[in-house]
Amino acid sequence: MSDIRLENLSKDFGSFRAVENVNLEIKSGELFSFLGPSGCGKTTLLRMLAGFEIPNTGKIQIGNKDITQLPAYRRQVNTIFQNYSLFPHMSVFDNVAFPLKIRKQPASTIKSSVLEMLSLVKMEDQHAKYPDQLSGGQKQRVAIARALINKPEVLLLDEPLAALDLKLRQHMLIELMNIHDLVGITFIYVTHDQGEAMSISDRVAVMNQGKIIQSGPPDDIYERPSSIFSAYFIGETNLISGTVSQVHDDYIELKCQIDKDEFLELDSTMHFTPLPGKELTMSLRPEKIAISRSKPRTQDDINFVRGTIEDILYLGTHTQYIVRVGKLRIRVFSQHKRVYFDEKALDWEEPVWLFWHDSDTWLIDEVASDTSPSGSDLEIASPYSRAVKKLGNQRI
């Protein structure tokens, strides 16, 4: 068993706290991702695992072995670097053979294992080439072969696809998953791309400002974000703040201010029991909202809101509507399915109904400080505009 255990791990650079008190267990053979914006500490965490940084406090264990202060060359951990870091003065073969030559293995063993490894990454016919003769994807494959030839317990991948173009990235992602299945060792994957992390990982840890915000399987984080940050960072969402007005057995009523004296009464199922009067934020994913010109039939567990279409973006697989509700802006994704669709296409400035099931929302026990709907430069249904700014305008 070689589970990885991080205990109270912290790392400072001068007065900057890069990683703060991280506690985590990664199971043997798992494909685990650290996901977060740049500067969130994920790379520092990875470098501590690789042995390039020594933590200020805390412990890193693989199985029963404490490796916290072990130098990089004594760890059973190998890394795929962001720029691949292939040795430019060595051929593909020599690059992959490097770890074995360092350990002074006999030439025959080296040859057979290198060729085996190169065939795993489908590069056996390129073994005589030099790194500057390879494409980005090929370099990536060589880097994988080189990192795996030592049969490490853990493979660390530092934004391995960042330098590739979109099509190749999707292709390599699948290939990485296949390789993971083949070799069966633990993969720890660092990325700022939530799509990559969601599609590849068994579990994801969302990081921000040196801390792990939430960790769990991707669907868990997507459906049940524990904080505004993870709700926002994973996928897209509408965040609506309000005050609990009534608490029922299996749902609550939330009163949300949308203008000076305008309020919405929204129902939501709950996963914890707040007291009346408590301020909360509700996460409502855009794909869970239905949009229609006509008012749907009234049902107990459906929320209705009346709004006006402010913007329409045709995105191929779906259309995105921005709907103005008081001073709120609600984002709606609508699939192009004739059966659900109004006969005549919706138009700009058209009044519409939005409706969703009250169990499609998720309550977050957190309120952003600048929720005021009277704010002049109101972000689209997101009270978390500060986070938005920090994330660097990744939204449309």
Binding site: A50, G51, F52, P71, A72, Y73, V77, N78, T79, F81, N83, S85, L86, F87, P88, H89, F98, P99, K101, I102, R103, R146, A147, N150
Partner: protein
Amino acid sequence: MKLNLSPAKLYKSLNLTIFTAVIVFLYIPILILVIFSFNDAKIITSWKGFTFKYYQLLLQNTDIKYAFQNTILIAVLSTLLSTVLGVLTALGLENKAFKGRKGIQLLIYIPLVIPDILMGVSLALLFNFVRINTGMFTVLIAHITFCISYTIIVIQSRLEGFDHSLVEAAMDLGAKPAQVFWKVKFPLMMPGIVAAALLAFTLSIDDFIITFFTSGRGFDTLPIYVEGTIRRGAITTINSLSTLMITFTLFLVVVSKRIRKIIL
């Protein structure tokens, strides 16, 4: 189509004209020298007929032979030592947090911006002050002294572009610090080291003034010999010697290109 020349085209043709003139200016004297080395005349005047006579005289001249040997000996030794010092120093200065970095870097730059003649004077007086007889040993010291700054800077510039993640990659793959150096870092420094060595070699065989101040009687390098011969007015063999030296230079240029190609 415009009929009149645009100013841009005018500048461009003007630049081309100046460039061509400069190339002619740079090569004419050398060309004349080469041609006149085959001139059958005692003094450097007009053309009197073709001859190989002076090349034969040159090969019989033992002074030239010794001067040539001395030049190569000094060049090889000073190249070797100044390159080794260059490698060590450049590696030491790579550490940006090194406390002595600024001071040492300054000390390395200063010799480059001071006229050579001053280094010659100061070394001559040093050797006089400590009563060392001038000769091969003092010339070697002088050549190493003026070569060091160049070798350090050339190797440093190569190290500057060095991708540190390669060192981490090697360590990650199990290489101990010594292995990291000899298997990854040193091979990648090689082009810089070769460039530094070639520069030191050329500087050494080319130097006149510092050698002039630090060589004693009886230890002539080629430039010293040539200057002495010109001063004495016995210049018949100088043309042919010069032609050989120019050929040697061209040979070096070709060799250095080859070496660079082989290494990277």
